[in-house]
Amino acid sequence: MSTDVVSEAVIAAVRPSRRPRHLGRFALPTYSWLVIAYLVFPIAVMIVYSFNRVTSGLQLVSFAWNGFTFQWYRQWSNIPGLTSAFWLSIRLALVSTVIATVLGTMLAIALVRYRGKKFRGRTGFEQILFLNIAAPEIVMGASLLGLFVTFNVARGFVTLVLAHVMFSIAYVTVTVRARLSGFDVALEEAAYDLGANPWATFRLVTLPLILPGVLAGALMAFALSIDDFVTSNFVSGTNVPFPVWVYGASRVGTPPQVFVFGTVIFTIGIACALSSLVVAKKKA
């Protein structure tokens, strides 16, 4: 017993002062949580007010808390324009994500694998990619509209898909390329060596190994497409996607269903991000 006390005293004496570490231990998490709160607050407001009762005659969002209700979730499809806009956005996001992911992945492979004589103008191509990411959307939207009008292309689903694929490809390419840069080419050579032709090699070796990058790229393309307003506003015809519809509606007053759709999209997004994280962990 007494020896314990002595040794503890020795340890206490030898142990360096802990105060500075204490400070660091609290400062960083506090800061992090503040940032997270800042980012999450608007989303929280949306989620909370999707459950808010509306007391006035017009069924529009008011930011006074009138009590909890599931009414807007039950009546989610009561506003015809909103529902069709939502489904258009989903369809648009799915189609443009698939196209952008396939094209963007192929582009990433080309950029990583072929250099010099095999891919002339590769550097210029990379510059264009970054230009595509950096260029203000308003410019691209306006110029696309100009293009479609000039060539007399009817604005609608096709023009929306074209526009969304265009601004998503670069993001997919950059994400997949990052995954590919650490890829050991000997793995593909090993597959050839074992009798796999190029397609089998891609299917059995390359794709499974870059899949986390491809999924992340696809997720990004989907997220970009589903909430795009600027470009879509220019190139959509009479059928407008969800963000454009919400913008139009908010000038008169936002129906609470908008918050319902927002909450659902957010939840699906979170679910996708989490599952992609799980896949990435499993593949790593």
Binding site: A186, E189, A190, A191, D193, L194, G195
Partner: protein, 388 residues
Amino acid sequence: MTDVDSIPQAIGVKVNVRLENVTKIFDGATAVDNLNLDINEGEFFSLLGPSGCGKTTTLRMIGGFEEPSGGRIILGGQDVTYRAPFHRDVNTVFQSYALFPHLDVYENIAFGLRRKKFDKSVVRIKVGEILDVVDLPGFEKRRVSQLSGGQQQRIALARALVNEPALLLLDEPMSALDAKLRHQMQIELKAIQHRVGITFLYVTHDQEEAMTMSDRLVVMRHGCIEGEGSPRDVYDNPATEFVASFLGASNLLAGVREATEGARTRVILTGGTTIRVPTSRLPSALGGPQLKVGVRPEKISISTSDVNSGDSHNQLRGRVKVSTFTGVGNQYLVETSSGVEITVYAQNIGEALAPRSGEDVTLTWPVEHTFAVVPTSEALTESEKSES
């Protein structure tokens, strides 16, 4: 796919791989220069050389990963020069092993068999058998990341061997292993090769590794073959100065050819000493009278007393500069009267009086252990000298 019918061959020896004037040029730099090579069936053959000598490029051309700029590659009588790697009866053990990280051991080994559409039950049997061969039974369900370096190497070997290729290519497969494991694997690899009877083409920069395992080997430099034969032939009778210094240690002494007296040729060294060389061991491509006489350090006897060895031995006098005890023996650096340094290895067989630094000694060695090479005009770079 032209059939090659006119391959001259020794009775009972079948040529498995033949390279005819194979050349590879990368952006104007010649990596492999007009290479001609025959590898026999069932042979353990090594390409040995320093980095950048073209040995890996040669291997990659045989595997189908590089296209030759010129020449032909003939495998089992068929011209495969421009055939894709997946259409060649060749398998490779890669330097990095290149095991598929997303597949377990079973699926890695079964990869080649599945491409050949083997029946599931056959695949299972073959994978089990090959895991026994590489001494890793029961490893089917392991993930690649759970394996040690040595185990990964065995799985890479199993993945290639299970396809029973006509030729197995090994690209420095031991470079990532530690020294002890490497020695163990060398013996084991040789045993496996003996058991499966497949031709092995082994690429390495480690001369000891090549000598331990090979039936025959070539020493390459600057894309050309500088020496070819069994390890003993190439070691005891190196064809060039480069081979002499890359393959083991050599003492090379500059001299001038004097006169040939039947089976022996006299050479006057720069210091004036006369050395006799077996005439048969003079290089055929000797241009002028200038040559270098060589002797391996372990062939030399060192003695503090005056020896009269007579006609059968060559003799040099000198003074011990450095004497090092290495456990298995003594290593001496002896300076001759003309200022040339000679390395001598003496085995530790319990001799009481080992010469010490500063002592005058006589070096003798049998005439038949003397060889001669054409002097290389350019100096050998550090990486081209032997590592041991």
